[in-house]
Symmetry: C2
Subunit: 221 residues, 2 copies
Amino acid sequence: MKGQELPPVTIRRHPERGHYDAETIHAIIDAAPYCHVAVVRDGMPLVLPTFHVRIASDIFIHGAVATGFFQELAEGSPVAVAVTLLDGWVLARSWFNHSANYRSVVVFGRPREVVDTNEKQRVFEAFAHKVVPGRWQDARQPSERELRTTRMFAIPIDHAAAKVRSGPPADDADDLGRNTWAGVVPTKLVLGEPVPDPGQSPSIPFPAYLTEWLKRAQSES
Amino acid sequence: MKGQELPPVTIRRHPERGHYDAETIHAIIDAAPYCHVAVVRDGMPLVLPTFHVRIASDIFIHGAVATGFFQELAEGSPVAVAVTLLDGWVLARSWFNHSANYRSVVVFGRPREVVDTNEKQRVFEAFAHKVVPGRWQDARQPSERELRTTRMFAIPIDHAAAKVRSGPPADDADDLGRNTWAGVVPTKLVLGEPVPDPGQSPSIPFPAYLTEWLKRAQSES
């Protein structure tokens, strides 16, 4: 399995929804808060959600050293990574033509373990910046011990495809006369009202970078 | 692989977050709009997003007959299904203790293909009811041909585990004195403003069940 060629990434069903350019693929990976990583263990499929960040043409994932899931990754076994964003429900006039608008990416690759603590540190900084810009500077940064007890893997994005659906429903000509409302109801992951840690001193102010982050998330939705 | 025993579902990392009761597992599966299904193809992992609905203790997924992905399912190869809901960003005082609140389920199982068109019809009705209550009655229901050209699989949920994190950050005692705001910023998938199909007659009213659906989604967020 280790030496085996990675599977093809050609989109066979709805080929017109397929994209293979790095710009489209990277943008979807960046927009998604988390991904799903699949490996083969003892011949059986295993899939788990995990957070990720992209730097250049690598996806980085990380976790505690104890994460059982990382055994296969450390051995260099191939992984499949799926990144999925649901953008809306597509309500057609027939049930059969109901669909969803979405952006998705699947990457096949062989993970490389990141062992250098400086590289780990840089990836964490990028991850913090992706999720909450400004947080890296405000929080206590990782200690040597913390970096050592975190395992990290880079998966190259050079064997990947995106699949994207957007726009209105595609109904059969025969159904267009129906008296059924048709259209798209967009969906979006939004941020809610922050809940301060109950153990926190009330004198600690809510930081400006968080206000900015919430405001930007609001305006994008 | 076909006769092989399914892998254990015990949560090893953060065992206190593990749940094995059907009530918890079913509620998470029902709350998620889509899942990720992993299979092994030629010894390599493959994972794809797809929509699902639960009825009793089965997850049902479906797709066009041409879906290449269904080859392994039809052969009865084991699948791993992951269902993931991101509930919030957990902002701790140290970067290391940053986390997320989430509800996730992983199911291992051998799919059974649904071939009876009456069963398919019932599953589609349940799926419509899950996504947009009232839509099934309003849209044109599937024809015999449409049911035949849709492939459907049931995956039993009897070999599954849930993992759930909720609540405030868990900081190290040494970090509690820091002047860093700590807490949770909730996240939620919400519905946006409906976009009517441009080809639609303006005389078609926006149906009451959709207004109801949007209102309920709003009040839950």
